[in-house]
Each structure stands twice: as structure tokens, then as C-alpha cells.
């Protein structure tokens, strides 16, 4: 492409030849409504450059016109809103967005248009927008903060706007495993992947870019005697041929976590308008790697001088990328401002593109080597940049002979290179300063990670290939690979010399952090005001806190601080590095787990049957439970629930209670084990009997309750509450494995094995007579209260039958293997039909347990003792059990503890509400007079009023007392009577009938 200045029609700054773009595949796109054309292989940024677009955004604080600064993921300026409608994504880096046909992008943070931005008046007020502006300005009056300041700041803040509607695309998460993870597919990474892969290690090679090669794509060179791009091609071909190597392009490794797990984001379909059907837009990878080699390269840093943020002031390496890789010209008369040898390589790129080099400004003068004949070289610095919103038109250079003005339409700058060492620092590794390259290099990377190539400060191509190869071979060997790695590829070690130049000390706005509009004078102001530590500097000025996380600005900012304080850069140090290295969409972090898949759900064995009947379901933990079963004509949940309660109280009903936790407790010492777990005794429980049990935490507070039956000498069947099934199982395993390993006991969760239904009501026995085989004795004597046995059912089925009651009615629980759960529900409907059988849901279940004064979750709330629940007498005095000792502590047995009590409004028409506080009649409600609160409420169809349970101080001795219920949430206060918690059948006649 030597000397080719012929441009492509419509693309004013596109070269006629060269580059890694496909001129036969034109792509249409629009930016701020203007239609343009690019080529396959372009990024949005390179296509904008090719179309001569320089102004691409407005800065965060001052709304200054900004152009494209870089050609990579470190870009601070060229952020756009990509796509439209629900797929619109704010703050998307144009430099990493691959162009596709029909791409639509909008500039951000400007109104009414990018060229004429109203908020740019902020620039005029810039003296007040200095570092610490927010802290100084919005201090007082305090009440103004919420009403005035915060809303105003929020309106002005931020760059792009989110879509505001649900993202229609899918995301998922996946795991990958390897011996060696290679981060970065440039010269270093390719060399590492080759040596590790040849040795036989399982290798994953990740690169953020759509194609491998890294800087070789932009800078070329000669490797093993061939053109660098040709070498890349053969390296990729070799890697692809190895079955143990997996290449993942468009995949950014954003973090390293404990024990060698990495986070990576694969942009699966960001390069197309929308993902093909059944495919995801992005995929979050968790990569478990035994070893890793990080060849993440280096990031070129800007120089701080007045006007350095004007559009078309660009990183020198970016100019080379646009020219060489994309055949796009950032300018047609390009000046260079560099302080290191690498920056000078830009001269060759510009010359070969057939564009004019306006001048090279270097405070060191011309380098010792290299042919720069015919190039205007000025020993000096850039003191100002002239131009308009559309970019550079002239450059003021300060040199030995005073100031001079140079015409140029683009300024390429290079202040040196910062090794991209973020991954080495995410575990609090502190980088070290190296004077010879004037940069921080990795010092103590996490275990198993090797930094190599430019990321480790080895900036020459030869060194990248050597260190990459060595690191890959070592990582493979450490991971157990036995093969040979072959020889490292060879390239020359070009000289690199640099004279640090951070800040051109002349008057004018000189930017350090382009995205957050932090200037050199902001850094100095922070120092003067005492914010010298880099962490303070960061918070005070917001340096490095924008979406780019200061990739182009952090080191420069702290160097200027070091200079202001008079410390060395090494002593000043860096701020703490934290993942993610690059932005990760929340959608990718959520993956599959959104909307109805937010979490896994559990269905009961009768779920589909209940759904058929129109049941309303409620989430109970992960379970979906039938809450009530509305009948045609019922318009209100209370109507349905009341009907269900009365149907049970007067006839018979059934409810799926399979969600209760169930545990098979077996072994020679099962009884002893349960004696130690429960406060009451189980070893003496007869086979065929059930008993209510209460277990405590070791601190004496109630953990859970449930009914446990003895099915055989060495077999107990425990039930737990639905909510505590998991925690109780974990607790029991702890007791078995840690506390009492001498006991022979084995545990198995049987929750899902059984479909269990509660059948309750005075006609229960009638229903069961119809269901069970005639040989079964279902009389009160034949099947007494708290009895358990296996019964035969008509039609050749066996079921476990437990005579236990939660509702206070004559009741049984019947259990069959889960596969017969639906059949059981249908057969209960048939068997109970003559008796008006009614399925009921969790609401009716709750009403009946409150009427009966049975405690449940709201009372077993992690603050109550057995005594508080009125169950203190259950505790055995003859044995030790978990929680026994501490439950006897003074505070847990104090007479004024809040204990379970019944509560009913004096006005029988009034609705009682949970959470209302109980205070003595005549007292002013408040913390001093508070005596407890309402825990559970229901409308009781049998008492025909709202009533509830509560925890009230001295409650047991105060039955009959009128107190006040105070509900500050609803601003209600009303009289209630404290009473026995057992509202219904206090003698318990019905359940024993």
C-alpha cells in the first residue's frame, strides 16, 4: 500500500489498499442519524475514522468535545449508545464494537446536538467544577440535599441513557476447565499457547479482539523471518489443529478469583444486529485453570498538555492501528509528540500510508537509530493545540527557540507504555516501578499466574515471543504436561528508550482523566488540600473512577501527584486494583437466572392437578404451593379461604403437605440421637407412634418443630417445617458427623419421596373408610390419636397413615410414593365426594392453625424459647440435648419475656394486622411502653372475627386484659383483648374423636 493515498468513495479517510478489512463487503451504519459506510473487519471507531468523523462525544463534566483517543478497550472518550429500542446499550466503546450492517449509534451526553451542546457552558464555569466540587458546594443547608442537590446532580450525571425496557436477548453462564489459561492472543499469548499446547496441556486462549495477533495486527514486524501476520496465521493454524487447545476470541478475561478461577465475558453475538434464534448475546465464563499465563500487553499513555483532549489528538499506537489494520486515516497531516522510541515507529506508518508527517516533537530530539530523513524534528514539547469541535488544526510547540505554530490536522502522542498488569494485582499484588521503561511492572502475581511479554514490561517483540514461550512451557509442565514445547519463535529486540514526560508545565486545561474530566491542576489542588495518598486523590478528584477505570490516566495522575509532593513514583504507589477489568453487563452476570428462571422452583406432587383446578399458588421458599382453590363466582381470596376452612371444620378437606421436610433417621442409635437433638424424648417412643418434637439451637432458641414417628426399632421418620428442611438436615448431619461420631445413625432426606396429604375434619374417618381396604380398622381404638402405620388402600396401593392434626380437627396425614401423588388427590376427591370433600390451600391451613393456637414460622422466629411458645414443659429434665444448658440462662427464663398469647380486637368488626405493637391501655405508644407485637393474624370463620397470635410480655398471666394494638405503619391504634391462644376447641376433643 506504499504511497497509496487513493481513498474509497464516500469514505474520505479510507486508504485504497491494505489493512485487514474486506473492501468487497461494505457495511452501512449510522452515527447520530448520519448514514455512512464501512467495511467488514472495521470497528465502529475505525469506520468513523475512515469517514472523517472526529467529534464523537462530549465529556462528563465540562461537556467538552471529544474524539477517539485509542483503538482498544482502554478508550475513555468514544462511548456511544449502540443500537436502538430495547437493545440500546449505553457507554459502549466504539473502539471494541465490531461494525455490522445496519449498526445504529448515537453520541452521548449532549443536548440538543453533539456539535451544539447546551451544557458546554459548564466549561465557562469550570473554575467552580474543580476537584472536590461536590463536597465543597452541596454541604448545607442539610435539607437542601435531598430536595434540591441530589435530584439536580442525578439529572446532570451519567453519560448514556439505558434502554429503560427489558433486554430481549438471552445470556448464559458456563464453566470451562484447563491446565493453562492464556490471557491475550498477541505475540506473547500465541507463543505461550503454542508452547503449552505442544507440551500436551489443556489450553484455553482468550482474546478480547475478534481476531488474534494483538499489536501484530497494527505494527506488523518480522517473526522467524516471515511477515508477522503470516506468522500469526500459521500459529493460529497450529493451535487450531491441537485438540487440547481451545481458542476463545471476543472473550475478555476480566478477573481472577481465589484458587485460579477466572471470570471472562464472551461477546458471542455483539458483532451482529441481533443474536440468531436460540443463541445468546453474551456468555459469562468461569474458567478454572491450574496455571495461567497473562500476555495482556501494554497500554500506551497520553501526555498531559493543554488541548490534549481536542478531537484528533490520538494515541500514537492508535494512529498506527487505524492506518495499518483498518486502512483508515486519522488525519492527512499528522504531527507526533513522543518521549520514547516506540512512538517514532508511527512515522513509518504515516509515511507508508502516503500521508504527510507535519513534525515530530520529542523533548529528547531525534533518536539515535532510524532513518528519519526529510522529517521535521523539533526538540521540545507541545504547549497548546488549536482547532475547533471538529478537531486539531494547529499545534503550538515550545522548544529551545521559543514557541512555534505547526499546521496539522491530527496529533499522535506517546508518553510511553504501561504494562497491562491488572490481573496480577487483583489479589492485592503491589506492582513495582521500573525506571528504564518508566512504568510499573507486576511484582507478586497470584499463585499459578505468570506475567509475560509487554504485560510484564518486556516491550520488544523478541522478548514477548521468548517470555511467552517460556511461561507457556513452564505452566504446562507445572500442570503435569509431559510433552515438548519446541522452540520459541524469534524476532529482533528493538531498542526502547524513554525519558519520562508526564505533564507539560504551561498554562491551560490539560487533561489526565479524559472521561471524568480530571485535569493536572485538579491533581495539584488535591495535593494542596491534603489529599496526597493515591486512594484519596482518586476519591477526591474521581480520577480513574469512570467506566474506563482510568486505564489511560491512573499512572499519569499519580506521577503528577508524586511530582507535586516531591516523592518518587515508586513511593507514591498505585491504588488498589479490583475486578472487573472491563465492564460486564448485569445481564451476563445473571445469565439464565432472570424472570421466571430467577431461581429454581419446586413443585408438589399434586401441582398439576391443583393447577387444573385453578388453584392460586404462592411462593414458599422455592416451593409453589396452592394458596387457595377459588370456585366460580368467588371474587375475593377471603371468600375462598373462609369456605375452605368451614368445609374442613364441618365436613372434610385435604391439603398437600408434601413440602414439609422429611428425614429418614436410621441406625442402631437413632433413638439416642433424637433424644439429643430434640428437647423431648424419642428413644422411648413405641414403634407405630408419632410425637411432636421441638429442637433448639445450641444458644437455647427454638430452631424447628415437627412430628417424628417411629416406623421400626431402628427407623424414625422425622418431619420438619417447610422453611427449615434444609437447615435442619445440615444441623443433623453436623450432630452426626461432628458432635457424636460414636453414634450409629444415618440420615437421608425423604422430602421428595413422599406425596403427603393432610385430611382433616369431622368426616375424615368416613372418607378414609371409603379409601382404605375394608380389612383396616379405622376406629378410634384401632387407629388412636398419634398412631402411625402402613395401610392397604382399595385398588392395590399401600400408604403410610399418621393420625396427627395441625388443624385441631379429627385428622390424618396420608403418604404415598410421589408418583402416586396426583392419583391420591383425584382419589381423595372421589372417596370424599359424598361428604363434600374440599381441597384447601396454605391460607386455610394457616387460619386453622391460628384458631388452634399452633405456632409456626412467625412465632418460631429466631428469638423465642420453648417457654415463650408455651412448650417449656416438653423439655426433658433427664437428658442432655442441644440448647438445654443455654436455654436455662437468666435472660431466657426471665418472667417478663414475651410469650405466645391470643389476641382479638374488642371491636369485632375490626381487622387485626400483623406487626402491630402491644402497649398497655392508656400508655403512649413508644419503645418504653412497648410490650410485644402481633405475629400472625387471620379472619376466623368459626369466631367470626379477625384474631391473631402475638408475643407479649407476661402474656400467659394476662388473659382477659384489654390492651392497645398500635400500628404505626398504618397509623392505627385500637383496643384488643389478650386471651388464650387456643381459640377453637380448647379441650382438644375434636382431634381425638
Amino acid at each position: 500500500m506504499e504511497g497509496s493515498t487513493r481513498t474509497v468513495a464516500g469514505q474520505s479517510h479510507r486508504l485504497g489498499a491494505g489493512g485487514q478489512i474486506d473492501r468487497n463487503a461494505p457495511l452501512n451504519f449510522s452515527f447520530d442519524g448520519k448514514e455512512m459506510t464501512g467495511f467488514a473487519g472495521d470497528t465502529l471507531a475505525s469506520a468513523l475514522v475512515a469517514n472523517g468523523v472526529r467529534l464523537v462525544g462530549r465529556s462528563f463534566k465540562y461537556h467538552r468535545p471529544r474524539g477517539i483517543l485509542t483503538a482498544g478497550p482502554e478508550e475513555p472518550n468514544a462511548l456511544v449508545e449502540l443500537r436502538t429500542g430495547a437493545r440500546r446499550e449505553a457507554n459502549t466503546r466504539a473502539t471494541t464494537s465490531e461494525l455490522y450492517d445496519g449498526l445504529v449509534a448515537q453520541s452521548q451526553n449532549r443536548w440538543p446536538s453533539l456539535r451544539h451542546d447546551f451544557m458546554s457552558v459548564n466549561q465557562l464555569a469550570s473554575p467552580i467544577f474543580v476537584a472536590g466540587f461536590y463536597y465543597k458546594t452541596f454541604m448545607w443547608p442539610a435539607k437542601f440535599w435531598e430536595a434540591l442537590y441530589e435530584p439536580a446532580i442525578r439529572r446532570a450525571a451519567g453519560l448514556g441513557k439505558t434502554a429503560g425496557i427489558a433486554d430481549p436477548d438471552h445470556y448464559d453462564k458456563a464453566w470451562a476447565h484447563c491446565d493453562v489459561l492464556v490471557v491475550g492472543g498477541g505475540a506473547t499469548g500465541l507463543a505461550a499457547a503454542l508452547s503449552a499446547g505442544r507440551a500436551g496441556a489443556r489450553v484455553i486462549l482468550c482474546d478480547d479482539d475478534s481476531r488474534l495477533g494483538g499489536r501484530l495486527q497494527s505494527d506488523g514486524g518480522v517473526i522467524d523471518g516471515v511477515d508477522a501476520l503470516q506468522w500469526v496465521q500459521s500459529a493460529v493454524a497450529e493451535l487450531s489443529s491441537l485438540p487440547n487447545v481451545r481458542i476463545m476470541t471476543r472473550t475478555a478475561v476480566f478477573g481472577v478469583y481465589d484458587s485460579g478461577d477466572f471470570g471472562a465475558l464472551e461477546r458471542v453475538n455483539d458483532h451482529v444486529p441481533q443474536p440468531p434464534e436460540h443463541q445468546v448475546r453474551q456468555r459469562l465464563w468461569r474458567i478454572a485453570a491450574k496455571r495461567s499465563v497473562v500476555g495482556a500487553g501494554a497500554i500506551e499513555r497520553p501526555i498531559v498538555f493543554p488541548g490534549n483532549d481536542r478531537p484528533a489528538v490520538m494515541m500514537a499506537s492508535a494512529v498506527r492501528t487505524y492506518v495499518n489494520r483498518f486502512a483508515a486515516l486519522p488525519g492527512k497531516r499528522i504531527a507526533l509528540f513522543v518521549n520514547n522510541d516506540d512512538g517514532w515507529s508511527t512515522v513509518d506508518a504515516i509515511r507508508r500510508a502516503g500521508v504527510e508527517v507535519a513534525a515530530v516533537i520529542d523533548p529528547r530530539g531525534k533518536p539515535a537509530t532510524g532513518d528519519y530523513s526529510g522529517i521535521r524534528v523539533i526538540q521540545g514539547v507541545v504547549a497548546d493545540v488549536g482547532g475547533s469541535v471538529d478537531g486539531v488544526s494547529s499545534i503550538t510547540v515550545a522548544g529551545a527557540g521559543g514557541n512555534q505554530k505547526i499546521d496539522a490536522d491530527c496529533l499522535a502522542m506517546s508518553g510511553g507504555w504501561n504494562p497491562n498488569l491488572a490481573l496480577s494485582c487483583f489479589h492485592r499484588g503491589k506492582p513495582e516501578w521500573r525506571d528504564d521503561i518508566a512504568a510499573f511492572v507486576p511484582a507478586n502475581a497470584p499463585a499459578g499466574m505468570t506475567m509475560a511479554g509487554a504485560a510484564n514490561g518486556d516491550l520488544s517483540l523478541g522478548a514477548c515471543l521468548r517470555t511467552g514461550h517460556a511461561a507457556g512451557a513452564m505452566a504446562a509442565a507445572e500442570a503435569g504436561a509431559k510433552g515438548k514445547s519446541g522452540n520459541a519463535a524469534k524476532a529482533s529486540d528493538e531498542a526502547f528508550s524513554i525519558k519520562p514526560l508526564w505533564h507539560v508545565q504551561v498554562k491551560g486545561k490539560a487533561f489526565v482523566d479524559f472521561q471524568h474530566d480530571v485535569t493536572a491542576s485538579d491533581v495539584k489542588l488535591a495535593q494542596r488540600e491534603g489529599y496526597e495518598s493515591v486512594e484519596h486523590l482518586k476519591r477526591y478528584t474521581t480520577l480513574g473512577m469512570a467506566t474506563d477505570q482510568g486505564k489511560t490516566s491512573n499512572v499519569t495522575g499519580l506521577a503528577i501527584m508524586a511530582d507535586a509532593v516531591g516523592r518518587s513514583i515508586a513511593d507514591t504507589g498505585t491504588t488498589v486494583y479490583r475486578p472487573p477489568y472491563a465492564p460486564v453487563a448485569i445481564g451476563a452476570l445473571a445469565g439464565h437466572n432472570r424472570d421466571e428462571n430467577f431461581h429454581a422452583t419446586r413443585l408438589t406432587p399434586s401441582h398439576h392437578w391443583a393447577a387444573e383446578r385453578g388453584a392460586v399458588f404462592v411462593d414458599t421458599g422455592l416451593w409453589k404451593r396452592a394458596q387457595w382453590f377459588p370456585l366460580p363466582g368467588e371474587t375475593d381470596w377471603l371468600q375462598s379461604v373462609t369456605r375452605e376452612v368451614l368445609a374442613v371444620r364441618n365436613g372434610v378437606g385435604f391439603c398437600d403437605v408434601s413440602t414439609l421436610g422429611k428425614v429418614d433417621v436410621r441406625g442402631a442409635d437413632a433413638g439416642t440421637f433424637l433424644d439429643r437433638v430434640y428437647i423431648n424424648a424419642f428413644s422411648a417412643l413405641g414403634v407405630g407412634k408419632a410425637r411432636y418434637g421441638l429442637m433448639l439451637r445450641e444458644d437455647g432458641i427454638v430452631m424447628d418443630d415437627g412430628t417424628t414417628s417411629r416406623l421400626a426399632e431402628d427407623h424414625y421418620f422425622m418431619t420438619t417445617t417447610t422453611a427449615k428442611a434444609g437447615p435442619v438436615m445440615q444441623h443433623l448431619e453436623f450432630c452426626r458427623q461432628v458432635l457424636w461420631p460414636e453414634l450409629d445413625v444415618q440420615l437421608s432426606s425423604a422430602t421428595d419421596q413422599w406425596a403427603q396429604f393432610s385430611i382433616a375434619g369431622p368426616r375424615t374417618r368416613d372418607l378414609l373408610q371409603a379409601l382404605v381396604d375394608p380389612s383396616e380398622d379405622m376406629s378410634n381404638e384401632g387407629f388412636p390419636f398419634m398412631g402411625v402405620r402402613t395401610v392397604k388402600l382399595r385398588g392395590g396401593m399401600e400408604a403410610r397413615l399418621f393420625r396427627i392434626s395441625f388443624s385441631g380437627e379429627m385428622a390424618f396425614e396420608i403418604a404415598v410414593p410421589a408418583r402416586y401423588g396426583e392419583a391420591m388427590a383425584r382419589n381423595l376427591m372421589i372417596a370424599g365426594e359424598p361428604f363434600g370433600v374440599t381441597p384447601y390451600g396454605t391460607e386455610a391451613l394457616g387460619v386453622m392453625r391460628i384458631e388452634k393456637g399452633h405456632v409456626a414460622g412467625p412465632e418460631l422466629n429466631g428469638t423465642t424459647t420453648a417457654g415463650d411458645l408455651g412448650l417449656g414443659k416438653m423439655a426433658s429434665k433427664k437428658k442432655d440435648f442441644i440448647g438445654r444448658v443455654l436455654s436455662q440462662r437468666e435472660a431466657l427464663t426471665a418472667p417478663d419475656r414475651q410469650v405466645v398469647v391470643g389476641i382479638r380486637p374488642v371491636d369485632k368488626t375490626r381487622r387485626l394486622r400483623s406487626g402491630a405493637h402491644i402497649v398497655p391501655k392508656g400508655a403512649v405508644p413508644g419503645p418504653e411502653t412497648d410490650q410485644g407485637y402481633v405475629t400472625s393474624v387471620c379472619f376466623s370463620p368459626t369466631q367470626n372475627q379477625w384474631l391473631g397470635l402475638g408475643l407479649v410480655s407476661h402474656g400467659a398471666e394476662r388473659h382477659g386484659e384489654i390492651v392497645k394494638a398500635h400500628d404505626p405503619l398504618r397509623n392505627e391504634t385500637y383496643d384488643v383483648e389478650l386471651c388464650s391462644p387456643v381459640f377453637y376447641d380448647p379441650e382438644g376433643v375434636r382431634q381425638r374423636a
Binding site: R286, E698, Q730, F734, Q737, W740, P741, E742, Q888, R889
Partner: protein
């Protein structure tokens, strides 16, 4: 993060639950132990050293083999030095309470 279960091998940390310090030993609790026993239990339930460095702690492989494990972990680096099974994991026969 992966944790090496002695039974299952290295597994994602999401399969494990942390309980806490594995050093305190549940005191024997005679029925008539009085306040001396209460003090011992108070220590057992509440008193913990806040160690910067290696600690012994209980982890539960509930998302896997349901074994209780005792891990030596550094609180400063998260590194697991060792993970061993609780004395009663599996069917190993212990002669007395808490035998390791």
C-alpha cells in the same frame, strides 16, 4: 474458588457452606452441671478468636456428598492449606464423642 473435598476432589465453592471456627469443642453437659457448665457453653457458643492467618473451620459439602469438613484456611489469603473429613463422616467407627 474451588475447595478440595477429601471425598469428591476440587469443587466449586458454591457447593459448600461455611459454619465457623472448628476449635471449640462441645462441653460435656451433666444434667446438674450448674453455672460452671453454663459458662463452658457460653464460651463454646459465643467466644471466638478473630485470627489473621490460619484458622480451622467447619465447612459443609451440602451441594455434594453432604460431608462435614474441617478446613485449615488463611483468613488473609483465602488459601486452603488442608481439608479433612469430620470424624463421623462416612461409616468410620469412632470409639467416643469427638474422637478425631
Amino acid at each position: 474458588m474451588r475447595i478440595a473435598c477429601p471425598f469428591c476432589g476440587a469443587r466449586d465453592s458454591g457447593e459448600f457452606t461455611y459454619l465457623g471456627d472448628a476449635s471449640p469443642k462441645r462441653p460435656d453437659a451433666p444434667i446438674d452441671g450448674g453455672t460452671a457448665v453454663e459458662d463452658q457453653f457460653y464460651d463454646y457458643v459465643y467466644l471466638r478468636d478473630n485470627v489473621a492467618g490460619l484458622t480451622r473451620e467447619y465447612w459443609y459439602h451440602g451441594g455434594g456428598c453432604r460431608s462435614w469438613l474441617i478446613a485449615e484456611r488463611s483468613t488473609t489469603t483465602h488459601e486452603f492449606k488442608s481439608v479433612t473429613a469430620a470424624p463421623g463422616a462416612g461409616a468410620a467407627k469412632a470409639k467416643q464423642a469427638g474422637e478425631r
